[in-house]
């Protein structure tokens, strides 16, 4: 059991030192899954056979000195909207209930090349649309910190699998907070990098202009390490940014170089707008305490007005729904996935397939997206939202002219109880208030544990950086984590 307590980097070091093996680590994870999965339900697919085979192969290559990277031999969980060759990939939707990709996402390829062992595919909100992992067609995931509560979403399965030790690290995707919010609810570290940092090739698109893949890990070091392994310039993705180039201010890919315990002189802005009405008192307290820790370590903290915060959610839902309505048109029962059993002609086949294949939240967003793009509404809704996006980006530009990092909560509350959120969609959408503007502006954001509420549910601290300034976020988060009782020491 002790093995499961290790971080990913610690585990890989132990394997390289010959103190354990990739196979033992994989077996330990599989045993944990055997024990807790019936309650947590983190996975849609557990690839026991494939993982063990891979672990043996990786172990041999580590022993042969071929695999020397910091994540070699580490069991990893992959969100089920990332394509994995020959392994079922469902997006937690019935419409992809039988879809076996013929290629792997670029991020997954990078990870496999580094010798990580894929344990399985994690549960999520259907097509990443949701904040609780309750819209999955394959059942809800429970929060390992308190199984009466949701793990957050949409990368809820990945966050829960890390928190519940059903893997050592996991991949998620973040379109409006889908990594940072479940990280907050499950008490793990989660990061959404700058748009374009990790290739989207092989990520099944929700909102293409907002989607980014990112790590969910036990601590900041694992987070930086996993990011470093996954990130790459990919010519297959036209929106991939070469971080060695001028557009990315030559910021590079050496994220682990920022694991430095030093925030002296770091300018941190605290947006007043993030601490207003709707924020849970306990969350406010924990986040402000974290700010104090950083101040004590030499950071310069200042309150400021970010502005436009209330407009981020309506702009986000307009853009995301519009893109989703188009991205999800390809699921039509012709090339892959579910096709309805009986139909009368082509259009009836389309309609029945899609109506039976998609769940209610996905349908809701597809219809909204089709509407805001339809003739007569495009300017008033879609273009308007893109204009607001430009204003939001400008507001952040102004903030980052003054601050290195913006600090605030990741979510207004701790994890809600199961079954409480879906009834009122607007209220559920409001839960994304602190996360969505980061996606609209393409910024990096990291979330790490900074406390618990009276029920013992984790509270997350969010740090937001300017585009390509992941290293400042990692450095700040790392420095905080060193002083925090909720970092690496926070385990069940």
């Amino acid at each position: 059991m002790e093995l499961l307590e290790l971080t990913a980097v610690q585990l890989s070091e132990k394997i390289k030192r010959g103190e354990t093996t990739a196979v033992l680590a994989t077996k330990a994870v599989l045993a944990q899954i055997e024990k807790t999965e019936s309650v947590y339900h983190c996975y849609v697919t557990v690839d026991q056979e494939g993982a063990l085979k891979k672990a043996e192969e990786v172990q041999q290559r580590i022993q042969a000195g071929e695999l020397t990277g910091p994540l070699a031999g580490v069991p990893v969980a992959v969100k089920d909207n990332l394509c994995t060759r020959d392994l079922l990939t469902t997006c937690s939707s019935r419409i992809l209930e039988n879809f076996i990709p013929t290629f792997s996402a670029e991020a997954v390829e990078n990870l496999e090349k580094a010798g990580a062992v894929i344990i399985g595919k994690t549960n999520m909100d259907e097509f990443a649309m949701g904040s609780t992992t309750e819209t999955s067609a394959y059942g809800v995931t429970r929060n390992p910190r308190n199984t009466e509560h949701v793990p957050g979403g949409s990368s809820g399965g990945s966050a829960a699998a890390v928190a519940g030790q059903e893997c050592f690290m996991a991949l998620g995707s973040d379109t409006g907070g889908s990594i940072r919010q479940p990280a907050s609810f499950c008490g793990v570290v989660g990061m959404k990098p700058t748009y374009g940092t990790i290739s989207r090739y092989g990520l099944i698109a929700y909102g293409s202009s907002l989607d980014q893949i990112g790590p969910l890990t036990k601590d900041v070091r694992d987070c930086a390490t996993l990011l470093e392994v996954m990130a790459s310039y990919d010519p297959k993705d036209s929106t991939s940014v070469d971080r060695r180039g001028d557009i990315a201010k030559k910021s590079g890919y050496d994220f682990t170089s920022a694991l430095v315990d030093d925030v002296k002189g770091m300018k941190i802005g605290i947006p007043r707008d993030y601490f207003g009405e709707g924020l849970d008192g306990k969350v406010r307290e924990a986040v402000l305490q974290a700010a104090d820790v950083l101040r004590e370590k030499g950071a310069i903290l200042e309150e400021f007005d970010l502005s436009l915060v209330d407009y981020a959610i309506p702009a986000y839902y307009t853009i995301a729904a519009a893109e989703a309505s188009s991205n999800l048109e390809r699921f039509d029962g012709i090339k892959y996935g579910y096709r309805t059993a009986e139909y009368d002609g082509l259009h009836n086949m389309y309609k029945k397939t899609r109506s039976e294949g998609f769940g209610p939240e996905v349908k809701r967003r597809i219809m909204l997206g089709s509407f805001v793009l339809s003739s007569g509404y495009y300017d008033a809704y879609y273009l308007k939202a893109l204009r607001v996006k430009a204003l939001i980006k400008k507001a952040f530009d102004e903030a980052f002219a003054k601050y290195d990092v913006i600090l605030g909560p990741a979510a207004p509350t701790t994890a809600p109880r199961l079954g409480q959120s879906l009834a009122d969609p607007i209220k559920m959408y409001l839960g994304d208030i602190y996360t969505v503007s980061v996606n609209l502006a393409g910024l990096p954001g990291i979330c790490l544990p900074c406390g618990t509420d009276s029920e013992g549910l984790p509270i997350g601290l969010q740090l937001i950086g300017d585009c390509f300034s992941e290293k400042k976020l990692i450095q700040t988060a790392y420095a905080y984590e060193r002083e925090s009782p909720y970092g690496t020491k926070y385990h069940i």
């Binding site: 996402a105 092989g202 990520l203 297959k236 036209s238 390809r330 495009y378």
Partner: protein, 476 residues
């Protein structure tokens, strides 16, 4: 019909570009191949796949834009056109609506009333759809994505044409320019050039445009001409009966010479265009423009001027030769091999055109090489064969691209240059045709022609007619 009507026509011309690969993936654009063998995750819309633009597509469309006097957009984007249909694997087509790459151009055409400019509203890039094959036995449709993602440019004209003749002149002009650029072979029958016709009718002199219909499925100049005539009549009939023309898309059936409305409750015709978030915008720098301009070929008008100066061949020849890039290239390459321009032109204008017409072939289908044409001319020049034999050899060359030297050798078609043998044959011919000899002596000098012909026949064509003439003169 009491009233006079004017036909107003605009065209949307789709041209398949001659790239090696598709517009957004590295799949081959080669024709044929078993279904779905030229496909990949991108051009079959697999989840997670992403498009990346083929640079050659941009270079071709800009070249076409420059050749048609368009302005090239400094900033251009791709948009998604959303509609469900199985030939389109993503159920959206990547195209350009808001910021097309080329706009506001035009080409000059010749009409009965003289020269006229047909305006070009825009030219944009987009992807082609897959192929649907209907299986009548099984009552289903088979989908093949080999053509899905083949690059197209769509050339949208202004409603500036007034007759089928103008439409065809416009299409021929476009085809000529695009073929010269090497951007496409523009074959209507094979679908690498396709035209949709937007047509409306208004009373002569009226300012306001009538309601237009769009006709699809036109795959030859003849079909286009018939469709325009048919649709014009249909719309006039409606107006005469006091009915309204409905704005709709119609499919022309060339066999039945009638167009049918393509309407369905399920076609909302609301494409919900929006900028494709998966593709980066395009900025056409001055440098890129210069680069493309520097690769620009010589166009027909420039060629015509140069041919006149350099080759001294008749204007009529020049016009025909430059009318397709293929004949112009053939002409120039043969001359470059040392052949006399006038002689090359004669072969291309005479025998070549005759055989093309006889076999109902397009000039693009000419298969013989400039090397072989030059050799043939050389054989005639050196009097190795005479012109009758040369025509025979040419016919072989036209159909099978044979090497004329080798062919003449193998078939023993060389002119007999043995003067003694020729003299002997002529003497025999004269002996057999005393009437002709007498006629000649009586001043009917034309009678010599019959003797030359008889001699040639006796020589099985393998003689130099000038030499026969010379010997005959002596003997007579």
């Amino acid at each position: 019909m009491s009233k006079q009507y004017e036909t107003v026509i605009g065209l949307e011309v789709h041209v398949e570009l001659a790239t090696k690969t598709k517009i957004f993936c590295g799949c081959s654009t080669a024709f044929g191949g078993a279904p779905n063998t030229h496909t990949c995750p991108v051009c079959t819309g697999m989840p997670g796949s992403l498009p990346v633009l083929n640079k050659q597509v941009l270079e071709y469309v800009i070249a076409v834009g420059l050749a048609t006097n368009c302005e090239i957009s400094h900033y251009s984007k791709f948009d998604r056109k959303n509609y469900f249909y199985p030939d389109n694997p993503q159920n959206y087509q990547i195209s350009q609506l808001y910021l097309p790459i080329c706009h506001d151009g035009g080409v000059e055409i010749e009409t009965e009333e003289g020269k006229k400019i047909v305006g070009i509203h825009e030219i944009h890039m987009e992807e082609d759809a897959g192929k649907l094959v209907h299986d009548d036995w099984e009552d289903c449709t088979m989908v093949d994505y080999n053509r899905s993602g083949v690059p197209l440019i769509e050339i949208v004209s202004e409603p500036d044409m007034r007759s089928a003749e103008e439409v065809i002149a416009y299409l021929e002009k476009l085809r000529l320019l695009i073929q010269y650029l090497g951007a496409s072979d523009c074959k209507l029958q094979e679908g690498s050039m396709r035209a949709d016709v937007n047509l409306s009718i208004r009373e002569a002199g009226a300012e306001k445009m009538g309601t237009r219909t769009e006709m699809k499925n036109l795959n030859s100049f003849k079909a286009i001409a018939r469709a325009i005539e048919g649709e014009r009549e249909r719309q006039i009939d409606l107006l005469e009966e006091g009915k309204e023309v409905i704005q709709e898309t119609r499919r022309w059936d060339d066999n039945k010479e009638y167009s049918y409305a393509m309407r369905s409750k399920e076609d909302a015709q609301d494409y919900r265009y929006f900028p494709d978030p998966d593709l980066a915008p395009i900025i056409v720098s001055d440098e890129l423009l210069r680069e493309i301009k520097s690769k620009e070929p010589e166009f027909p008008t420039e060629k015509m001027i140069r041919y006149k100066e350099e080759y001294g061949i008749p204007d009529y020849d020049i016009e025909i030769l430059t009318n397709t890039k293929h004949t112009a290239d053939l002409f120039e390459e043969t001359v470059a091999l040392g052949a006399d321009p006038k002689k090359v032109s004669n072969w291309l204008m005479g025998e070549t055109m005759r055989l093309l017409k006889e076999n109902a072939m397009e000039p693009e289908a000419i298969c013989f090489s400039p090397e072989n044409l030059a050799k043939l001319i050389q054989l005639v020049d050196s009097k190795a064969i005479n012109s009758t034999v040369a025509k025979e050899v040419f016919q072989e060359m036209f159909h099978h691209d044979i090497d004329p030297e080798q062919y003449v050798e193998e078939k023993g078609l060389k002119t007999v240059n043995d003067q003694g043998a020729l003299r002997k044959t002529i003497e025999e011919v004269m002996a057999r045709n005393p009437k002709s000899v007498e006629d000649y002596h009586n001043g009917k000098t034309k009678a010599i022609g019959a003797l030359v012909g008889q001699t040639m026949k006796a020589m099985q064509g393998k003689a130099d007619p000038a030499l026969i003439n010379q010997i005959l003169q002596e003997l007579l």
